[in-house]
Amino acid sequence: MTVAAPQAGELVVDLDVFHGPFDLLISLVLREEIDLWEVSVSRIIGDYVVRLADCGEFDLEATSQFVVLVAALLEMKSRLLLDLEPEDEEQLDAEQAGEELLVALLRYQQFRLAGEALRVRWAEHAGRIYRHAPLPSRFRARVDESRRLPVSLLADALAPLLREPPAPDASHITDVAVSLVAELRRLRTLLRRHGAFSFLAIAPSDRLEKAITFFALLELHNRGEARLDQPRAFADITVTATPSVSLAG
């Protein structure tokens, strides 16, 4: 006997902090009555996969709904992990904000009045009837008999297009002097020796090489070997070794 695939709301989850239907868990998390840190998403997924395996048929809609809900949970949890601060918006005082709003409203009013003027023109002109009949076919194409192209001429023109072009010569382009692996090695050495450094102080001047250094930084961050701090957009990045690297160094 086949059993229908579990709907996301029907799934009963059994966690340390909660036991009950999955959709109730979501509601409690959204109302902040359950600490999201304590929710083991991997166990929820594991339970669902077991239930799926017991079912005889695969319900795409039910499973898709579950995936969406779990993805939302993961996104909320990842925000907590990154400890994202709300973006600092430019602080305007009330008077400045009021003036900006006034300017925007006045500009909108201009275009609204222009739209009104267009409505008047539309009322007067949109109903006019113009002739749209196409030209009689005998007038549409004029063939100049004296200028017919011989087929051989057309073939000669097409032939170069069908030939494979020569490979471009790249000998004048110098190889990139920095490789990602070498850069990772260099950054690790800097972290072991100094514990912290500034990105702009150690990055090469060449744009491509600087980009490779930045990728290496991201890789170190992903592996948990370094912490990256940037006080504001486009400011210098301070790279600090994480405690595990400091202890190992």
Binding site: A94, G98, L101, L102, A104, L105, L106, R107, Y108, Q109, Q110, F111, R112, L113, A114, G115, E116, A117, L118, R119, R121, W122, E124, H125, A126, G127, R128, I129, Y130, R131, H132, A133, P134, L135, F139
Partner: protein, 190 residues
């Protein structure tokens, strides 16, 4: 009517679209001044009330249009329908594109304060705006501009015939009144 005016009359009849003065100069192998004089003579000959059709300058050229008094007869014969009316939202969006073009979707949204994606799609479907390239800014957003159909439906020869936008600027007293209302609203909320 001289032969040049008659030739122009024939070309305009056959073309079934607005034909520019430059095209007429080329096609009729005539002088620009002579073409202008011939067009003036034609406009006089087809002035309002004389024939069932009139000569109009629209969308960058000249074309024949059915006289208002005869529209009912043509509609009955050809089943011609007036285009659907434009809502205030579409007219606002169209005015922003017409005056700021080429304009991106964001430019329109910045003026109107709301998303204009639907309005721009509707205007594109009606042939009043079209895509005319991409902006040279991050993301390369699409640029929109008005079409010849826009000029025709609004009875404009070219965009220069649009009234200047400054003419719709509010008066000083309107500005002060609006400022006072904003302040009053802000005080009511605090």
């Amino acid at each position: 009517m001289d032969i040049l005016a008659r030739e122009i009359e024939a070309v305009l009849y056959a073309a079934a679209r607005p034909v520019s003065a430059d095209e007429l100069v080329s096609v009729c192998a005539a002088d620009a001044d002579d073409v202008a004089a011939a067009l003036e003579a034609l406009r006089g000959a087809f002035a309002s009330g004389r024939h069932g059709i009139e000569l109009h300058a629209v969308a960058g050229g000249y074309t024949f249009v059915v006289a208002c008094a005869c529209e009912a007869a043509v509609e009955a014969f050809a089943g011609a329908r007036r285009p659907d009316e434009l809502s205030p939202a579409l007219l606002e969006t169209l005015s922003v594109v017409a005056y700021l073009q080429p304009a991106t979707r964001a430019d329109v949204a910045r003026v109107r304060g709301v998303s204009s994606e639907w309005a721009l799609s509707a205007l594109e479907e009606r042939g009043l705006v079209r895509e005319c390239g991409r902006a040279d800014t991050p993301g390369s957003p699409i640029l929109y501009g008005t079409t010849d159909r826009f000029l025709t439906l609004f009875g404009l020869c070219d965009l220069g015939e649009l009234p200047p936008l400054d003419g719709y600027a509010p008066s000083d007293s309107d500005v002060e009144e609006l400022r006072a209302r904003l302040l009053a609203n802000a005080e009511r909320r605090t």
